[in-house]
Amino acid sequence: MKDNSKLLNFTKGLWKENPILVTMLGLCPTLAITYKVENALGMGLAVLFVLVMSNLIISLIRHIVPDEIRIPIFIVVIATFVSIVEMVMEAFVPDLFERMSLFISLIVVNCIILGRAEAFASKHNWLDSILDALGMALGFTLVLIVISLIREVLGTGSITIWGNLAINFNKNNSPFFSNFFVSPPAAFIILGLILAGSKAINAAKAAREVKSK
């Protein structure tokens, strides 16, 4: 039973409590950077690191933090790890960092991270908090990758990841691929369709469960 609940802490972030699809947190970076698959991967990794580390630290200090000033303290912890990510990315992947530096620093105010700190890490032990952070960050990254795959393939007709892996789908210049999909309006529309799709799947699932009972 105990192992099962540990596993559940991890898996609930992937679908059941997915930060984008269900709780709808962190929509700003989801909309802004998903025009390229490599942006989605970079953003996902950055959020994974910040979320795991801040959840770990916050769950370790949860007994010594006074209740009244917990939010400012959480924000300072999160901002510290975001600054670390900024410096590491600037040193090792400078062109990726240049493209999304604004949204990397905006991880500080990303509701997913403060939300998990407040709702989970400040109430659970460090192991559960890390599992929760891993699940949430992976769920977030998976949705980012799905959206950016749709946008990059339909928008440019190809996928390029760090220059090494490049696949071209648009060999004979078909009008099916339009750069509308990499423009800002398409981000809103595609995310809207994906959210509607996940809601429909959940509704169908619930209906089936009612029937089987």
Binding site: L27, A196, A200
Partner: protein, 194 residues
């Protein structure tokens, strides 16, 4: 920058590089409070005050302290503390001096600390190397653009809520698709200038 240049900058910030529809900043409050027209307007005005003041203060801190001391890597941490402190000060000030305005903006003020449009604008102002006057004009116009779009959107949503929408699309999904269509309209403003 000339007076004409400042007007172009303001026009750009309000309509073309709109903070929500083009830069995707502040999407959370945009979707969260645009359900009611009254709360959308309250949030919009609170955002104008906070974005303008926090951009000016962080601009000042960056050029007066962070840059001379070579501590620009601390900027994210400094800005977020500036914003949090500023929101708290504005809240206390309004409570004491203009209680009626405090009651109108009250619940939206604390939410603004985690509005990424505020931190985003403070960062943009530094990244684009604006001077003091440009910072003032740009941050004020960005916030006006936020109010403008959130107001339009709240009226649209009150109409949508009365429509017959498929169940899966109700709420946020249809709101996002509406925002997408609104963004297409705003994208066309870009062709007015160039």
């Amino acid at each position: 920058m000339t007076f004409g240049g400042l007007i172009v900058l303001a026009f750009n910030a309000i309509l073309i590089q709109n903070v929500i529809l083009n830069q995707f900043l502040g999407t959370c409050p945009f979707l969260g409070v645009s359900g009611k027209r009254q709360s959308a307007v309250g949030m919009g005005f609170a955002v104008i005050v906070v974005i303008t003041l926090s951009s000016l203060v962080s601009w000042g801190l960056y050029y007066a302290i962070l840059k001379p001391l070579g501590m620009t890597y601390m900027s994210t941490l400094v800005y977020i503390l500036v914003i949090a402190a500023l929101v708290q000060i504005i809240e206390m000030f309004l409570k004491k001096v203009i209680p009626s305005l405090y009651r109108a903006l009250g619940i939206y003020l604390p939410l603004i600390t985690t509005n990424c449009a505020v931190l985003g604008t403070a960062k943009t102002v530094i990244a684009r190397k604006f001077n003091f006057l440009e910072t003032l004009v740009y941050s004020f116009s960005i916030a006006v653009g936020f109010l403008f779009v959130i107001y339009i959107f709240s009226t649209l949503r009150s109409k949508i809520a009365r429509g017959d929408i498929p169940k899966a699309f109700q709420g946020i999904p249809i709101a996002l698709i509406t925002a997408g269509i609104l963004a297409m309209i705003f994208a066309k403003f870009g062709q007015l200038i160039i």
